[in-house]
């Protein structure tokens, strides 16, 4: 009798335990997706013991090779979107890998850098709380590596009030249109400008510009619209609800609208762009337009491998950063070596996201090394703001912060195309047209930066 009573209870316990374990596993996957601001104290990780020795020594990242920094940590912070389907964590994780390298090789005058990464799920209240957490609890003296769909919109005035000058990867308009944010990337608008500009240079008769139906589409579309109008080429603006559940229809509509001498230019995340391009391929539509274009997110080898050779010299993708596969410079080699030795948390490996994180970190380190006194909010942000004509080794042009009201320091790009599973350069560094009024306003205030040596 007692056994009969006990048995169901034990079964219930086992089931509950299994369910709890499963929920726990799911929770781990979305720990950064929880509604609370999950503070990840990501002090720079130690070098991976299992990683193979890099071809290029990573010791050149610091000023005292082989000497670990043991001084008081310099606290920096980052806020990054991490939710199912949209995650930019590779960017601050790569910045952290760079800082780990610096810390292992002397740090900043003996001080290690400690990067606090806050993840968010596109919730304004959470993002505002994240910023306060970084400032009031973690006492960060600078913000480096922010990459968020709406963080710039939410926190811009907060950072301005406190005197922080952010080094980030931008998405929202405020990442480019405010005095306190300078991005290493172009963001969706100017990258789309670049893709449309390339299509126009190929003398297409019509542009179909299609993008995700998310807040800010009007702001992004204004750039391509201005470029097409200036060239006297008709442009059709489309938006698609994401995730896309009817890629065949989307591809058919784009091709029908563009016509045989037109171009279809996409501004989507890689998975969404891929489903549209693959649908076009399955329906035999890839040759029904003169060319296909895409903004920077398409610039991944994942995409090139998935698409296959039919898209060689058919798809042209804007590239905001120099192509890592074909660039053989000391900086690019250092990036790959650091990624290999310290980048175990960078899931995407070599690619635009990790390049952005690397670039932001090297700019920050360059600025921090110029400080002679204490590392305070005032001194660190003054150093960030003072960065001028810095050769990142990753961009077409030298990078500056400065005092202008807007910041688009990366406004010169290249174009790549798939080549049997890799992205290769189709057109070298080209200035984004100042027909876009935002670009014109920035150049008028900050001037046109010189090309980086070797770009």
């Amino acid at each position: 009798m007692s056994r009969r009573i006990f048995a169901p209870s034990a079964r219930t316990m086992i089931v509950l335990a299994a369910a709890a374990l499963a929920v726990g596993a799911a929770g781990c996957s979305s720990s950064s997706s929880s509604s609370s601001s999950s503070s990840t104290n990501t002090s720079a990780p130690p070098p991976s013991a299992s990683s193979a020795p890099a071809a290029t020594s990573t010791s050149s990242c610091g000023t005292s090779p082989g000497t670990a920094a043991t001084g008081t940590p310099i606290a920096l912070g980052a806020i990054v979107t991490n939710q199912p389907g949209t995650s930019f964590t590779d960017i601050p994780n790569m910045a952290n890998a760079y800082f780990a390298c610096v810390n292992a090789n002397g740090g900043i005058n003996g001080h290690p850098i400690k990067l606090y990464i806050e993840t968010e799920q596109t919730n304004p209240a959470q993002i505002a709380a994240d910023a306060k957490q970084l400032v009031q609890t973690d006492h960060v003296v600078g913000i480096v590596g922010n990459t968020s769909i709406i963080e710039c919109s939410v926190d811009s005035s907060y950072w301005q009030k406190l005197g922080y000058y952010i080094i980030d990867s931008g998405i929202a308009p405020e990442c480019y249109g405010t005095p306190n944010s300078a991005a290493v990337n172009m963001g969706p608008r100017y990258s789309s400008d670049g893709a449309v500009q390339y299509a126009l240079s190929q003398h297409v008769s019509k542009i179909v510009f299609d993008q995700s139906n998310v807040p800010g589409t009007g702001y992004i579309a204004a750039g391509p619209n201005a470029l097409a109008k200036a060239a006297g080429v008709p442009i059709v603006q489309l938006t698609e609800n994401v995730p896309i559940s009817d890629a065949d229809s989307v591809a058919i509509k784009e091709v029908d609208d563009a016509g045989p001498d037109g171009a279809v230019v996409l501004n989507f995340t890689p998975p969404e762009a891929l489903v549209i391009l693959q649908a076009a391929q399955k329906l035999g539509l890839e040759d029904h337009v003169k060319l296909w274009g895409c903004s920077t997110p398409c610039n991944t080898d994942f995409l090139a491998q998935s698409l296959g050779p039919k898209w060689n010299d058919k798809l042209f993708v804007n590239a905001e950063l120099l192509p890592p596969d074909v660039t053989n410079t000391p900086t690019m080699n250092l990036y790959k070596a650091i990624l290999k030795q310290y980048g175990s948390a960078v899931s995407g490996g070599i690619g635009s996201f990790s390049q952005m994180g690397f670039t932001e970190a090297e700019i920050a380190v360059h600025a921090l090394e110029s400080i002679t006194g204490a590392y305070t909010v005032a001194s660190v942000n003054a150093a960030f703001k003072a960065v001028s004509d810095f050769n990142t080794g990753m961009l077409c042009q030298l990078w500056s912060y400065g005092s202008s009201a807007t910041h688009i320091p990366n406004n010169e790009d290249s174009t790549v195309t798939p080549d049997n599973g890799k992205m290769v350069t189709a057109q070298g560094c080209t200035l984004i047209s100042a027909v876009d009024p935002q670009i014109a306003a920035y150049r008028s205030a900050a001037g046109t930066a010189a090309l980086e040596p070797g770009s």
Binding site: V15, A26, G85, T86, P243, D248, V275, L283, S347
Partner: protein, 297 residues
């Protein structure tokens, strides 16, 4: 309004999509009739099966093996869920049973987010060999995957209808749909019948996951929540009629895609399943009210 020729290509894509929705809808109806469970994890198990198939293919496994594993995974998870939670929830209401499957959905969704991350801009795709062949109807290119999707919807609907009508197991399922307790007292092995329904639903979830991963996208979010379109068809069928579920699923897929070239409506086409479900239910309930009032008079 665009000319008719602009709509023609969307008929093919709409029929293919509708075929897969029908496949999913039939699985959902059969399971509901046998167990009373509205299986909301149908999309998630198919999605995870498809992602496992992708991983196997990337690791060098032959295509046929990865497809089999996809279907086997979906079948095993669904059967496992039914075996563990089915008896415990058998006496609870349909709402609780349905909500419990949301729990499974979230667990699988979280696991997919963890195991197949997109933080590095990864883009995955699962292509079937049938994508490469096909034929043209006028200027419209039709590939074999689209044909298979529609054919699978038709075949599964007809086969399931025949199974429920002419086999012992099917008769037992229909009996359980009417009254589980009386069916049990008549000596029908209820657990075994339910297990068969769970297994069949899981197999269909795996097949639908594979086809949708090819036709739509290999993306956890997309595939997990695509079940909503099938649910609309299932609701119109009032969770009972397989034939009606099939017809409604084809209508959802077709109308959804035919709205694409209409500029003023194209951005609202994702509402199609909900609009069709709402209108369908209103019409059906109006007929029911009229029939009742006629009986009373």
């Amino acid at each position: 309004m665009p000319p008719w020729s602009d709509f023609e290509p969307f008929i093919v894509s709409g029929l293919a999509l509708g075929g897969v929705y029908a496949l999913s809808g039939v699985g959902l109806v059969v399971l509901y009739r046998a167990t009373g469970v509205l299986y909301l994890a149908f999309g998630a198990v198919g999605a995870m099966g498809a992602l496992i198939a992708w991983s196997l293919t990337q690791a060098g496994a032959p295509g046929w093996l990865s497809w089999l594993v996809c279907v086997a995974f979906a079948a095993a998870v669904t059967l496992g869920y039914g075996a563990v939670f089915g008896p415990a929830l058998a006496a609870r209401g349909p709402l609780i049973k349905a909500v419990a499957t949301i729990g499974l959905t979230l667990i699988l969704y979280g696991a997919m987010d963890l195991l197949w991350t997109t933080s590095g801009g990864e883009a995955r795709s699962l292509t079937l060999p049938t994508d490469n062949g096909g034929f043209s109807i006028g200027q419209i290119q039709v590939n074999w995957t689209q044909v298979i999707a529609l054919a699978a919807g038709v075949v599964i609907t007809v086969a399931t209808g025949a199974f429920l009508r002419y086999t012992k197991l099917g008769t037992a399922m229909r009996a359980m749909a009417n009254d589980r307790e009386i069916t049990a007292t008549l000596g029908v092995p209820v657990r075994r019948v339910e297990a068969a329904a769970w297994l069949g639903c899981g197999v269909l979830a795996g097949v639908a996951g594979l086809l949708l991963a090819d036709l739509v996208a290999l993306d956890a979010t997309t595939l997990t929540f695509l079940v909503i379109s099938s649910l609309a068809a299932v609701l119109i069928a009032r969770l009972r009629s397989i034939a009606l579920a099939f017809a409604a699923a084809i209508a959802v897929g077709l109308l959804h895609d035919l709205l694409t070239p209409i500029t003023s409506l194209t951005n609202y086409r994702d509402m199609t399943p909900f609009v069709i479900a709402a209108v369908g239910l209103l019409v059906l309930s109006r007929h029911q009210v009229l029939a009742q009032s006629r009986e009373e008079s």
